[in-house]
């Protein structure tokens, strides 16, 4: 075994240090094997290795810039600082690696170095043009026109070949965007400046195909073909590519990185000047890698960080003393909701297989308390529905039609309901329904996800008041994942389809209710973890992606929501922001806020349509 680490562990006086050491110990056990060229390393190990080494610079650093000294300090008033996207030292900037660092990571800070075809706007769900100028459905084919001006940062033109190549990578290898190929049959070039994406006939889902054009980052064919060739088309070898100086179409290029920060520099030849009318304001963008949330919050409060994507408890305290700190919404809930962390019932568990018991639990939960205690009040009042209460989603449901089925916190009504179905309280205060004691039911989420831990403590406490025993269980995250997928739980917490994208709220409904192709309990399921089954719901979920008429969509979603509210396979506990977008305007001013008319979404000024903020801010 690893003697040195054990010695250190013994010396460690504080439990936290011990935990860290234990983590090192586990990692150490994995990585003691000598590195071998034949054995494909796991991604996790890959993740660890560079963390041990010290400062690294991009291999292909331009000569002019490397003369500026080691720390690469950039002028404060030309640099935009961000935190909360990168924890731990960066390992690579290779999108295919599966663990690439800021600003390359998949689905976050999307438009800085690599760009997507369209930019998602979380406020209204619109897809705004970027590399693509417009898209339209021609029967089962999505026709996308590309921007003729677009160029790679090395000067090469961006063409339909690059788009086709990038999509094909997902077909060839098992990478982040491979899943879209379940819905796509082929992607072909239509001249140099347009592509056609053809639906898979067996699985015609227009919604997920639309997702793909706002999330897949476009890679330059001329660069990655070389890398593929060098790696002999072997994905494990491709994953080892660090890609320290990525060539993208975006407005920024890699400038400097080490294990404390990552800095990118503006590309003054950026093609998008013709689209946006000018260059983005900050010359540099730096992500400082903080030790933990607390350190990041402190730096943000003192103005060392301009944009924070961290959960800041009681954010209003930040501007109480007049500090120029803002959230997108001026008042509670401060952030724009993006997902609904929910508890999911195991539909085969005796006791909670009864819908009235589930309804009683839903009515017992104190949602206001969850919002206040777990989320610092960042979750608006709970109105149970499959849709979020945002402009992008609320249009799909007829609020009046579902009103009578929606539950609110009402302990008395919950108790009455349980009395009515004949669940009498036993001597210990816990009800018994037809010989089944209502509890103990375990409710589960990973340890250390503090807002979730708190929410579940409140659920357990709320259930006590109606004579149902719910116990919290906070295992390590991998245990939770396994329990979730194999269905080995009574009640479990998870976010059904967390992203903000064109396929919402369909994908959320799908993850909660769709029973086709779901493995039975004991095997892995990737949605519908509680194994809910309703043929009518399946049918509607199959139908929605094929329909584009808004009125028809609304009636289908309303019907689906009614089924959900009647059967209660899950109960949303809170609304969670997609991004915790908080800005400090000590250095940079003019970030978008609600009602400023700019329609720039609070997407940390660098993700999707949120990047338009970079053209608006000023010193």
């Amino acid at each position: 075994m690893n003697g040195g680490i054990l010695m250190k562990l013994k010396l460690a006086s504080k439990p936290l240090v011990a935990l860290f050491m234990a983590a090192v110990l586990f990692a150490g056990c994995e990585s003691v094997q000598p590195p071998s060229a034949t054995e494909p390393p796991k991604t996790q190990e890959e993740n660890k290795t560079p963390a041990d080494t010290s400062t690294k610079e991009p291999a292909k650093e331009p000569a002019a810039e490397s003369a500026k000294g080691d720390a690469k300090e950039t002028p404060r008033n030309e640099t935009l600082y961000i935190n909360g996207l990168q924890w731990g030292a960066p390992t690579n900037f290779n999108l295919l690696s599966g663990n690439s660092a800021f600003p390359i990571s998949y689905g976050s800070s999307r438009e800085l170095v690599y760009e997507t075809l369209f930019m998602i706007n979380e406020l209204n769900g619109a897809l705004e043009p970027l590399l693509g100028t417009k898209y339209e459905w021609k029967d089962d084919t999505l026709h996308v026109e590309l921007n003729k001006d677009a160029k790679w940062s090395d000067g090469q033109p961006f063409t339909s070949d690059d788009v086709v190549y990038t999509y094909q990578l997902g077909k060839k290898y098992d990478i982040n965007w491979s899943s879209y190929w379940a819905y796509i049959s082929e992607v072909t070039a239509d001249g140099a400046n347009a592509v056609n994406i053809k639906l898979n006939k067996d699985n015609p889902n227009k919604l997920t195909v639309l997702d793909s054009i706002e999330i897949i980052p476009m890679l330059p064919k001329h660069m990655w073909e070389e890398i593929e060739k060098k790696a002999n088309n072997d994905l494990t070898a491709i994953r080892k590519e660090v890609n320290a100086d990525p060539v993208g179409t975006g407005p920024y290029k890699m400038y400097f990185y080490n294990d404390q920060k990552i800095t990118i520099v503006r590309d003054d030849n950026y093609w998008g000047q013709s689209l946006f009318g000018k260059l983005p304001a900050p010359k540099y963008i730096t992500h400082v890698i903080y030790k933990d949330n607390a350190a990041g919050d402190l730096a943000f409060k003192s103005g060392q960080v301009d944009v924070s994507q961290q959960f800041i408890p009681q954010v209003w305290n930040m501007w109480k003393n007049g500090a120029p700190i803002k959230t997108y919404l001026k008042d509670a809930p401060y952030y724009v909701p993006g997902s609904m962390p929910s508890i999911i019932f195991n539909m085969s568990k005796k006791g909670i297989d009864n819908v009235d018991v589930r309804r009683a639990i839903a009515m017992s939960i104190d949602y206001k308390k969850i919002s206040d205690l777990a989320m610092s009040g960042y979750s608006a009042a709970m109105e149970p529905s499959l849709t979020l209460n945002t402009e992008a989603e609320s249009k799909y449901v007829d609020k009046d039609a579902i009103k009578s089925l929606q539950w609110t916190t009402d302990v008395k009504a919950a108790n009455d309901l349980l009395d009515k179905i004949g669940a009498k309280k036993g001597k210990d205060g816990i009800r018994v329904l037809n010989g089944t004691r209502l509890g103990p039911f375990d409710v589960e989420c990973p340890y250390g996800w503090s807002d979730w831990n708190a929410a579940l403590e409140i659920v357990a406490q709320s259930a006590k008041a109606i004579g149902i025993e719910i116990r919290t269980k906070f295992p390590e995250a991998p245990v939770w994942t396994n329990d979730l997928q194999t269905g080995k739980f009574d009640i479990i917490m998870n976010t059904p389809a967390g992203g903000v994208n064109p396929s919402q709220p369909w994908s959320r409904a799908h993850d909660i209710m769709y029973s086709k192709k779901v493995a039975p309990i004991g095997e892995m399921a990737f949605w519908n973890w509680g194994r809910y089954k309703n043929d009518k719901a399946d049918q509607i979920i199959d139908q929605i992606p094929t329909i584009s008429d808004e009125a028809q969509l609304k009636s289908l979603y309303t019907e689906l929501t009614k089924i959900w509210l009647t059967d209660i396979p899950s109960v949303p506990l809170m609304y969670r922001p997609w991004l915790f977008h908080t800005v400090n305007e000590s250095v940079w001013k003019g970030f978008p806020v609600e009602g400023d008319g700019s329609n720039i979404p609070p997407q940390i000024a660098m993700d999707g349509a949120g990047i338009r903020a970079l053209y608006q801010i000023h010193n």
């Binding site: 054990l6 562990l9 013994k10 439990p15 936290l16 011990a18 935990l19 234990a22 110990l25 949330n293 607390a294 919050d297 402190l298 408890p313 009681q314 308390k369 206040d372 205690l373 340890y447 250390g448 503090s450 831990n453 708190a454 403590e457 409140i458 357990a460 406490q461 006590k464 116990r471 919290t472 269980k473 906070f474 295992p475 390590e476």
Partner: protein
């Protein structure tokens, strides 16, 4: 035995420790009888500072920290005592067997003991806690007990080995007493005082271990212990929020309990240990 107890009562260190410990025990046993509220009930806002109603303020869930502390100390002492009993009994059995029987049995048992000493018990504790599914305070206590016996075993073995060669043991052997009988009547009384001291120390370290492991989030579920109170304070960044009341009282309680137990131990040591007896 009775005599030594009377001597103990004259030791100021032992008395300070014992009185402190009993006072604390009395408080945590009596207060919940007066304030019969559910300690897990969320009655206030998060991290409310102490006032006339909430003597020690509220934690991140808005729970009454004073009431929680009472239950937490109870759990922690219970876990410590159970862990102490387990550690002492296992250590005693292995130490006695290895010291008295000797030979190959001694070699094997000593080897096992040494292995357990070399591997830090805390690592084993973490590994076991991560791997088991149901974690109640009893399970946690037992795990702590079975990972912290080696030092007791070693000391008991050493004493037993030296006792084995004494005349009264030889006489008992010649008289035809059975091995268990000799161990219980001829050896145990001579190491009894040491065993009691070891038990007190094991209890104290059991309380500390519980606190450490709970602070890592690996403690028992669905209960309150001092470690769990501190764990929540840590997870919810109470130090950043300036909510000292969320962790200082719990930390102080641990310090006070272990201090009182160590005082008792030192008092006993001064009386029973011939080397430092005054």
């Amino acid at each position: 035995m009775k005599n030594s107890f009377v001597i103990l009562l004259k030791s100021p260190k032992f008395m300070i420790g014992a009185i402190l410990f009993l006072l604390m025990l009395a408080l945590v046993l009596i207060y919940p009888q007066i304030n019969r509220k559910d300690p897990l009930e969320m009655i206030a806002l998060a991290f409310q500072p102490p006032d006339a109603n909430l003597w020690l303020g509220s934690d991140n869930f808005g729970r009454d920290l004073f009431l929680e502390l009472m239950y937490g100390i109870q759990t922690s002492i219970r876990v410590g005592l159970i862990a102490g009993v387990f550690a002492t009994v296992i250590g005693l059995i292995i130490g006695l067997a290895s010291g008295y029987i000797g030979g190959i049995v001694d070699n094997i048992l000593t080897a096992i003991t040494n292995i357990f000493i070399v591997i830090p018990s805390f690592v084993i504790l973490i590994l076991i806690s991560v791997s088991i599914n149901s974690r109640s305070s009893l399970v946690t206590a037992i795990i702590i007990g079975i990972t912290s016996w080696p030092w007791t075993a070693r000391a008991v073995r050493a004493q037993t080995t030296s006792l084995r060669g004494r005349d009264h043991v030889h006489i008992a052997k010649i008289s035809g007493h059975s091995t268990p009988k000799i161990i219980v009547f001829e050896i145990l009384p001579y190491i009894a005082s040491y065993v009691v001291m070891a038990f007190v120390l094991q209890t104290a370290s059991g309380i500390l271990s519980e606190a450490s492991i709970s602070m890592l989030g690996l403690g028992p579920y669905n209960t309150i212990s001092l470690g769990i109170i501190m764990n929540w304070a840590l997870v919810f960044e109470a130090p950043v929020a300036g909510a000292w009341w969320a962790f200082i009282p719990a930390a102080l309680s641990i310090a006070l309990i272990t201090f009182s137990l160590y005082m008792m131990n030192t008092g006993m040591d001064e009386i029973f240990n011939p080397k430092i007896r005054s």
